[in-house]
């Protein structure tokens, strides 16, 4: 859930709302925030499933180092959602295994 008011940091600016699509579902987020922030605000915590055991993975380092949070974004696999800014109309998909390029099948 969003931290709208904060005793030190003040209120957040939610003016620039955008609409994006997560596994085909329409969702709202704030333009420029990391994709991972929009997902957490919408209570989505599984970003991908591992290749062999199909275990869920989500945010771990949140600064673009660990690659646990990668997803398929606008047809590009292995996009680090914790450091990639959200844009209007983005198509975001849960990644299975090592992912696939737009239109191909997951491996």
């Amino acid at each position: 859930m969003r931290v709208i008011a904060h005793p030190i940091l003040g209120n957040i600016n939610q003016d620039n709302e955008v609409t994006v699509y997560v596994d085909g579902k329409e969702m709202r987020g704030i333009e420029g925030e990391p994709i991972a922030a929009m997902l957490a605000a919408n209570k989505i915590y599984t970003h991908r499933l591992t290749k062999k055991r199909h275990e869920p993975r989500g945010i771990f380092c949140a600064i673009g180092r660990c690659t646990d949070c990668v997803m398929i974004v606008d047809g590009i696999p292995n996009v680090r959602t914790c450091v990639t800014p959200l844009k209007e109309g983005m198509v975001i998909e849960t990644q299975h295994g090592v992912g696939h390029w737009g239109g191909e099948k997951s491996v």
């Binding site: 859930m1 904060h6 940091l9 957040i12 957490a40 380092c61 949140a62 600064i63 646990d68």
Partner: protein, 368 residues
């Protein structure tokens, strides 16, 4: 080919301070960072810094960051490249950078590597489950991204990061915090521990997390008392309903670039594990390759800033852009401030560790 006096890799507290000192002394500086914004991890530090006036004590981390970024923008000798990755060291003077979707070759006289550190994980059944994350990651989510990924936090580790992030989780509207520490005493400052206790946080020492479970996200954790060898004491396990687990188990230096260059390393647990060997001037085993901040051993933002300044002055002197007298007086001042930051019961282990690294470096200095 882009030619500069000094290439600085990483625009966190160490890199920003290094750039400012060197830029103000007339060196041409290229400051490169892979992130979209400069400041490294300063902007998620919303607490007031510790230490004395000269260490900006009483100022919140993000304010220090804002001031540094403004000063950098005002210095004409500093070029700042964001969204740019230094991915290859051709030799000690030539580096390749991905910048604006193309590869640029940098020809530089000296280098300061200030790439920082990354959080250590802690392995237990369920540690990969969504909702288990680094304490710094949680701090980024609540303070930078302004999203709280849960309500009931289990914090593992009572160093300053564990204590401060627990407090900030509550500031960000979190419902409750349970904090466990495997050792039999709290690792961080008493003042931070008192703050979260006043909020009703249960700090349990001699206790660790045994496993975490949940359906697609953390739902509960099994905790247990541990002995002085950190082994579970049988029969002491109990369950707590939590929806987020943050691991504050320390950090280790991020030194891919230094490995590429072929720097010498030494194992130093008090500073995070493998650390690059460096001397009191912040020069590594390689001539002209300097380091500053957490990459030289994980400490804190205050020491990182001082080390950045020190490395910059060493470079300035080596490039004959200041007199020996000036350099010596600045170096002594900064060293004194660093020693103040590494004093007291919490700092002395880091000071001793640093001294042992400087001692190893003495041998390299002879070879260089």
């Amino acid at each position: 080919m882009f030619e500069v006096d000094l290439l600085i890799v990483g625009a966190g507290p160490a890199g920003l301070c290094a750039a400012l000192e060197a830029g103000q002394e007339g060196l041409s500086v290229l400051l490169v960072d892979e992130n979209a914004k400069p400041g490294g991890q300063l902007f998620k530090q919303i607490h007031k810094f510790f230490g004395s006036e000269m260490h900006k004590a009483g100022t919140r981390g993000f304010r220090i960051g804002e001031n540094l970024v403004r000063e950098i923008a005002e210095c004409p000798n500093i070029t700042l490249w964001l969204n740019s990755v230094v991915f290859s060291a051709i030799d000690q003077n030539h580096f390749e950078v991905v910048h604006n979707c193309s590869v640029q070759v940098i020809n530089t006289k000296k280098v300061i590597v200030a790439t920082g550190a990354i959080e250590k994980g802690l392995v237990f059944p369920g540690w990969t489950l969504p909702g288990v994350m680094g304490a710094g990651a949680l701090q980024t989510m609540i303070n930078i991204n302004r999203v709280r990924p849960g309500n009931k936090l289990l914090m593992v580790g009572s160093g300053n990061v564990g204590l401060i992030v627990s407090y900030q989780f509550l500031q960000a509207g979190g419902e409750s915090v349970i904090l466990v520490e495997a050792a039999n005493r709290i690792g961080g400052y008493g003042v931070h521990a008192s703050k979260i206790r006043r909020y009703g946080t249960n700090i349990i020492t001699g206790c660790s997390v045994e496993s975490v479970s949940g359906n697609g996200k953390v739902e509960s954790a099994i905790l247990a008392k541990v002995d002085d060898k950190f082994q579970t004491i049988k029969g002491t396990q109990w369950e707590e309903k939590v929806d987020i687990v943050a691991i504050a188990a320390g950090l280790y230096p991020l030194m891919e670039l230094l490995r590429q260059l072929g720097c010498e390393f030494t194992m130093c647990p008090p500073l995070g594990g493998w650390v690059p060997v460096h001397d009191e001037r912040m020069e590594t085993s390689l001539n002209g390759i300097f380091i500053a901040g957490d990459v030289s051993g994980a400490e804190e933002a205050s020491t990182a800033m001082e080390e950045g300044r020190l490395a910059a002055w060493s470079v300035t002197y080596d490039l004959a852009k200041c007199t020996k007298n000036k350099y010596e007086s600045v170096r002594i001042d900064i060293t004194k401030r660093l020693e103040a930051l590494r004093s007291g019961p919490y700092g002395i282990a880091r000071k001793n560790a640093k001294d042992s690294i400087y001692a190893i470096a003495k041998n390299f200095s002879k070879l260089r």
